[in-house]
């Protein structure tokens, strides 16, 4: 119990310290030490509780509840103030509705609802805590040198690093709160804190674009928050249990309506269609924010909620709707990623797509699907944080985040390029993590009723996925010219964090059978009484492939020097070409060789697919809500 409170409260303490300390080595050390302690705390939680199953922990509701209520009101006032100041009537309206709903619940129903235990810990929350604690802290540590560099590059932006780190650590605290809360009112409180934190982080630069995108994120997440508040109200009216454990145990008869409403909130938070635009807009924020939102916090809170309610959604029509939203999002977001040359935007689409897969698994909600979903969350978190932070580092050196500008990166920044390679392969190739989980979700979908639709979406989605990752991969190792190594300019701390995350990507792949056996399987078993596996021989083959891939680069020792072979020039149709790849083109015009990737705009145009996606998903979401609103439909 002390450990859970430590994980929730200690980041808060760090946050306050970041707020009061000036820009001084002391603050940097506070962040580093706290980051290490938070990560260590999460690991300690794993070591001490991985085999003890689900444990409820009774923390008295008062005075915590009182404090939370005050903070919720303060948040509402802050949003109200900002909404009025920036003339965003929608934000004002949404926060008023949401506050009214929550306050009504607080005064009318909350006192009458008995709570057995406000906190809990089980294998799934341990996994989430590890993701938040280890990856989240690494991102915060990375942000120290990144933000210094950022403000050197952007003197026009006001340096508000104090509040930046304050919000970053508040974010981590709220995430720990979400994954340890058994009381749904607490869950909701932390949920709203993450909404506000992401709003403030996206708007960090205070440019017009940033402000607008921040409000876009706020609007969508407040809408989701209203869904969550309605779920609470429903629980109050019907007298259903307020505890997450009891509510889920109640099954569809008791919990379907709140489950669907919370899944709706989860769809907004995990940026599923039609709510994807906020996550795309969020990339205006400094890169560590993107990394945090995409890998260990925010969107992961959304899918966490959906996975938690998967047993309730399983086999129901609204659950099928949730799954269809996820499946559609997976395919369309992957297809849209093909047309993106902006690395951060491409990564954002890939995040949306992968979360779509998790949501599809959650909506299907069988034991196989949940098993796959949890592994997806783990592998996605490590690989995606590595990719975002690497792109951030590259951007500061080559002053571009465009994939087309990243050619020759393997020469310019060999170590960073190698780590991006690890991240990319981790996202789509056998035997790395994401592929394992895609494989598992494919198997889960096949056995589900009506699973053919999902099988098709995942089959076509995989084809598309490999296209956009591979062409980025290729870009990095294309070398038009001999360029100099500029990697020395990167700060050691940034590189170290990237090293740590690369090691994590490879580590979780090597340890994946262990993670699956000791954490994911006990969790799935405790909920469904059944469990799935990939099969031991398959695990051995995967490890074998991984070993081959890790050993293969050693052949570069033989090939790399080119000792016994002749160096040839690139075939240029016989045109005389200078060493810097200039040649006489048609009509004698001097040209330089330039190579570009395919983006297939005509087939996978973003605008077209987005319109289709929004139309389909709005229909699905409305149907899902309709099903619980109109009485008797489900019966």
């Amino acid at each position: 119990m002390e450990l859970l409170l430590f994980l929730i409260l200690f980041p808060l303490l760090t946050a306050v310290l970041c707020l009061v300390l000036p820009d001084h080595p002391i603050r940097r050390w506070v962040i580093r030490v706290s980051g290490v302690l938070i990560g260590a705390g999460a690991v300690y939680l794993l070591v001490t509780s991985y085999d003890s199953g689900m444990r409820l922990i009774d923390v008295p509701h008062e005075p915590v509840g009182m404090i939370m209520q005050v903070i919720v009101l303060a948040i509402a006032l802050l949003v109200l103030y900002l909404g009025v100041r920036y003339r965003k009537p929608l934000a004002v309206g949404l926060i008023l509705v949401q506050t009214a709903l929550v306050q009504y619940f607080e005064f009318q129903y909350a006192p009458g609802l008995a709570m057995e235990a406000n906190l809990f810990v089980d294998e799934f929350s341990i996994i989430m805590a590890l993701i938040i604690g280890v990856i989240g802290s690494l991102i915060c540590i990375y942000a120290i040198s990144y933000m210094r560099c950022y403000h050197e590059h952007h003197p026009e932006i006001e340096d508000r690093r104090r509040s930046f780190f304050f919000i970053m650590f508040v974010f981590l605290s709220a995430m720990f709160g979400i994954v340890f809360s058994n009381n749904l009112l607490w869950f909701f409180f932390f949920w709203e804190v993450t909404t506000l934190a992401s709003f403030l982080l996206i708007g960090y630069t205070r440019t017009e674009e940033a402000t607008n995108n921040a409000f876009l994120a706020l609007h969508m997440n407040l809408l989701g928050g209203i869904g969550f508040a309605l779920a609470l109200l429903y629980i109050g009216v019907t007298g259903a249990p307020l505890g997450l454990d009891r509510l889920v145990e109640g099954g569809a008869a008791v919990a379907l309506v709140p489950a669907v409403l919370i899944a709706f909130a989860g769809l907004t938070k995990s940026a599923q269609l039609p709510f994807s635009s906020w996550l795309l807009g969020a990339m205006v924020a400094p890169t560590p924010v993107s990394a945090l939102l995409h890998s260990s916090t925010m969107v992961k809170a959304g899918v966490y909620a959906i996975i938690k309610f998967a047993p309730v959604l399983s086999g129901t029509v609204p659950g099928l709707m949730v799954a269809l939203v996820g499946g559609t999002t997976f395919f369309l977001a992957s297809a849209m990623a093909i047309t993106q040359s902006n690395a951060k935007r491409m990564l954002a689409y890939s995040t949306i797509a992968n979360l779509g897969l998790v949501v599809a698994c959650g909506g299907i909600g069988t034991y196989e699907a949940v098993w796959a979903a949890i592994l997806l969350i783990v592998f996605h978190a490590v690989a995606k944080s590595l990719l975002f932070l690497s792109v951030g580092t590259v951007e500061h050196q080559i002053h571009s985040r465009d994939i087309e500008d990243m050619d020759g990166l393997i020469v310019k920044m060999p170590r960073v390029a190698a780590m991006i390679l690890i991240g990319i392969t981790g996202m789509f190739l056998a035997p790395f993590g994401m592929l394992i989980s895609k494989w598992a979700s494919l198997r889960a979908f096949i056995d589900a009723p009506g699973g053919l639709v999902f099988v098709l979406l995942i089959a076509f989605g995989s084809g598309v996925t490999l296209f956009f990752w591979a062409k980025w991969l290729g870009r990095l190792i294309t070398r038009p010219l001999d360029e100099e190594n500029i990697e020395g300019r990167v700060k050691t701390e940034e590189i170290s964090v990237l090293f740590a995350l690369s090691a994590l990507v490879i580590g979780v792949c090597l340890l994946f059978p262990r993670i699956a056996h000791s954490l994911v399987e006990p969790y799935v078993l405790s909920i469904y009484g059944m469990v799935t596996q990939l099969g031991q021989d398959n695990e051995i083959i995967m490890i074998l492939m991984l070993a081959m891939i890790l050993v293969l680069p050693l052949t570069m020792l033989y090939f790399g020097n080119g000792r016994d072979r002749r160096k040839l020039d690139v075939y240029m149709s016989g045109r005389a070409t200078t060493p810097d790849m200039h040649f006489k083109g048609s009509a004698g015009i001097d040209r330089q060789l330039s190579l570009h990737n395919y983006y297939l705009e005509g087939y996978f145009g973003e605008g077209k697919l987005m319109r289709i996606g929004v139309a389909v998903s709005v229909l699905l979401v409305l149907t899902m809500l309709e099903l619980i609103v109109v009485p008797g439909v489900l019966a």
Binding site: L456, A459, G463, I477, T478, M548, L552, Y571
Partner: protein
């Protein structure tokens, strides 16, 4: 469940079989074009000669990627013939092709780059179909393991006719046959220099050729599974399928990539949905 001996046998024997198939292919092609054609063993002579050529490179790393291509294609075939999980076979096959694509990228040549992009389009075009083939086998036989699919005992082709049609359509691209040989091909008149292999020469090109042999045998193996209940029927069917592919190769001109991608996806969707939906409606899944 996994018979590694068969896998090792594949690694050793598949190049022999694949080279032989390539030789017969060239002979049949020549006859279709009214030529005498080369000896059946010509493919072996060609590859043997490639390994005697001067060692040369454009970028030192290219050999590393091509070696990866060869190793993983042999690995995926070995896994298939050892009776392993079909999905894992497909993923390993995809991995091997990514090595080829990256090798083509690494040389930084305009022609190899076009080939690399087109090779990726090919991968994107056929990936859904080959995944759905394994899904079809699973729904019909109850297992993803090649050993169990092969031992199913009944004619899978009758349960999976639509899937087979889709697979046959995509096989043209997998075997690098016209009209879907958009990345690289053996028809000089319709090739953009030499596509993905433009900058590969000597032993590097030899490795690419051997990898193609491995892949051809693996694809023949997958075709075999549809007919595996009766070896005699299977031999005839596989021969007919291959003959049909050679015929298509010689009677069509290379399609544009957009048509190749679009039509393969469309055929995949229509043929497999019509076929696999039966399993879901019938409650057999």
């Amino acid at each position: 469940m996994i018979a590694w001996l068969y896998g090792i046998a594949f690694v050793i024997l598949a190049p022999l079989l694949g080279g032989l198939v390539a030789g017969i292919d060239r002979r049949v092609t020549a006859r279709m074009q009214g030529r005498v054609g080369p000896p059946i063993l010509q493919s072996f002579y060609d590859v043997g000669k490639l390994f005697e050529k001067e060692r040369a490179y454009v970028r030192a790393s290219q050999n590393f990627y091509i070696l990866g291509y060869l190793i993983f294609i042999a690995f995926s075939g070995a896994l298939f013939f050892a009776g392993g999980d079909l999905l894992l076979v497909i993923f390993a096959l995809t991995l091997s092709h990514i090595f080829l694509v990256i090798g083509a990228y690494s040389v930084t040549s305009p022609y190899a780059l076009i080939g690399a992009e087109r090779e990726l389009i090919q991968l994107m075009a056929v990936e859904p179909m080959i995944i759905l083939v394994s899904v079809g086998f699973y729904l019909a036989s109850g297992s993803f393991y090649v050993s169990e699919i092969a031992a199913y005992g009944g004619p899978l082709i009758l349960l999976l006719p639509g899937v087979f049609i889709g697979f046959f359509y995509a096989l043209t691209m997998k075997l690098r046959k016209s009209p879907f040989d958009i990345a690289t091909c053996h028809h000089a008149h319709q090739e953009i220099v030499k596509g993905v292999t433009t900058e590969f020469s000597g032993s590097t090109l030899g490795m690419v050729e051997i990898a193609h042999w491995y892949e051809a045998v693996l694809l023949i193996g997958i075709t075999w599974l549809f007919f595996a209940w009766n070896p005699l029927v299977a031999v005839v069917a596989v021969a007919l399928v291959y003959l049909a592919e050679i015929f298509i190769d010689n009677t069509t001109a290379r399609a544009k990539w957009g048509f190749a991608l679009g039509s393969i996806w469309l055929v995949t969707l229509v043929s497999t949905v019509a076929n696999l939906a039966v399993f879901y409606i019938g409650g057999m899944a």
